[in-house]
């Protein structure tokens, strides 16, 4: 591992610098193995001979940026992914949330909106939707547009339906969408209480006081220092005794902010902000 830096590694570093200096998208502290893999995919599929050629195109052609972001930001999710997580939100977190007259929920790194709609449906089923404001944020404008449209391929719906049922769903998922032409279009009313917004966990600041933050499988793409920054943001954003839900394989255990949170549902990676 002490070998001289490979040319492609230099190119990748320079491309990430270029993307930051020209467009303020900062991937410099992302976990590199996955970034490299996706940049190599981007290079191949966009038809460039080298990462440097891709960099030149990105610097001089802003239209390339969203295309590159499509590769750099991972957009793989499903509704009610890990149903036991949503079951724990429903059974353990919701009773606490009921005690507030109004609620704010932040889905950080919402990607195509699958996790957002899962939470909105859950809140509707629990009678909390009307008093809740949801913030759905991502750095990727195209992903935000997909989230805002709420249209998914019909072939994914079977999995979503199964997950919803396993999560303790109190209605039929089909109540919330209309199917046509191979697509399922989720009901507009699910977006009544949602604010979609461009926000970066890497460069942006706190914007409101939250009662629940759900940020699943976003921080695994960050390196340790960047994970700490994001968790610092969550810590500042959360109301006292507010809740933070992470991905099944994400943990606060190694973070400098670990002390600010207590395990709430340990096996589901749901934490509660301390009372200080």
């Amino acid at each position: 591992m002490s070998a001289p830096e490979k040319v492609e590694d230099i190119e990748i570093r320079l491309l990430l610098e270029a993307l930051y200096h020209q467009y303020h998208y900062d991937f410099r502290n992302y976990a590199m193995a996955s970034v490299k893999r996706r940049l190599k995919q981007a290079r191949e599929q966009l038809g460039f001979a080298t990462i440097s050629a891709l960099q030149e195109s990105v610097l001089h052609n802003p239209a390339m940026v969203p295309r590159l972001l499509g590769y750099l930001t991972v957009q793989v999710s499903e509704m009610f992914r890990d149903p036991s997580y949503f079951r724990a939100i429903r059974e353990k977190v919701v009773p606490h949330l009921r005690t507030y007259p109004s609620l704010k929920v932040w889905v950080a790194g919402c990607s195509g909106g699958e996790e957002l709609y899962s939470l909105v449906i859950l809140f509707r089923e629990e009678g909390l939707e009307e008093r809740t404001l949801f913030y759905a944020t991502d750095i990727n404008q195209e992903a935000l547009q997909i989230a805002e449209a709420g249209i998914y391929n019909l072939d994914r719906i079977q999995l979503f339906t199964e997950n919803h049922r396993k999560s303790g769903g109190k209605s039929s998922l089909s109540d919330y969408y209309t199917a046509a032409y191979g697509r399922a279009s989720f009901d507009k009313t699910l977006r009544q209480q949602v604010v979609f917004s461009d926000h970066s966990l890497v460069t942006d600041a706190v914007f409101a006081e939250m009662h629940l933050i759900s940020c699943r499988n976003v921080m695994i793409y960050f390196d340790r220092p960047l994970q700490d920054r994001a968790l610092g943001l969550f810590r500042e954003s959360l109301a006292r005794k507010g809740f933070l839900g992470l991905g099944a394989k994400e943990s606060l255990r190694f973070s400098q902010h670990a002390d600010a949170f207590n395990d709430f549902v340990r096996e589901e990676k749901i934490y509660q902000r301390d009372g200080r």
Binding site: M1, A3, A31, M32, A33, S34, K36, R37, R38, V74, V76, S77, D82, S84, N217, I220, Y221, D223, R224, Q227, G247, A248, K249, E250, S251, F254
Partner: protein, 187 residues
């Protein structure tokens, strides 16, 4: 070919449990290298692989955690529904990127990242399985100067995966499970 690697990566699918049960319990407590292992498992949240091999082995067996520093004498299993990647700074990371060849975790993803991190100091082993995962990754390992080992397809529960690996990497060393176990005891 490097006789003294710094890490081992292993990929296995159908028949994995029996194959790994020949290899991993054979390693002595003094085994110095880390092993990163991808087994194709269903995406349910809980896997018993690490617990199972912890009970059978003298080396340590754990399910890999995100950003975990890589330690010698430890077998790290990819968790269900996540890719496992090796970072160049000596840590592991997880990813929920799209499945590769319908698999998450994917052997190719592990092998490619480990080839990048360890270069010639890596030994990669493709075991039994019924698909093509691992073949491309093994080619990356060879290209980076690492050592490629493939289970003898005739001796494998499912031969497709070793056959695909050999087709892409004709110079890979083809061995029986017992020979692989003996080989690892000597690295």
């Amino acid at each position: 070919m490097n006789a003294s690697p710094k890490a081992i990566v292993i990929g296995a699918s159908a028949g994995a449990l029996d194959a790994l049960s020949v290899i991993l319990p054979a390693l002595p407590a003094s085994f110095k290298l880390p092993l990163m292992v991808v087994v194709h498992i269903p995406p349910d949240k809980h896997s018993i692989l690490a617990e199972l091999f912890q009970a059978k082995c003298r080396i340590t067996a754990v399910e890999a955690e995100d950003k975990e520093p890589i330690m010698g004498g430890t077998a790290y299993f990819a968790p269900p529904d996540y890719h496992l990647l090796v970072e160049t700074n000596g840590t592991l990371s997880l990813s929920s990127e799209e499945p590769v060849l319908f698999s998450r975790p994917s052997i190719d993803v592990l092998f490619e990242s480990a080839a990048d991190a360890y270069g010639p100091d890596l030994t990669a082993i493709v075991l039994t399985g019924a698909n093509e995962d691992g073949a491309k990754g093994l080619a990356c390992v060879v290209e980076a100067g690492g050592t490629a080992i493939v289970q003898n397809p005739q001796d494998a529960f499912a031969s497709a995966m070793p056959e695909s690996a050999i087709a892409i990497c004709p110079d890979a060393q083809v061995m029986s499970l017992a020979a692989i176990a003996a080989y690892l005891q000597k690295v």
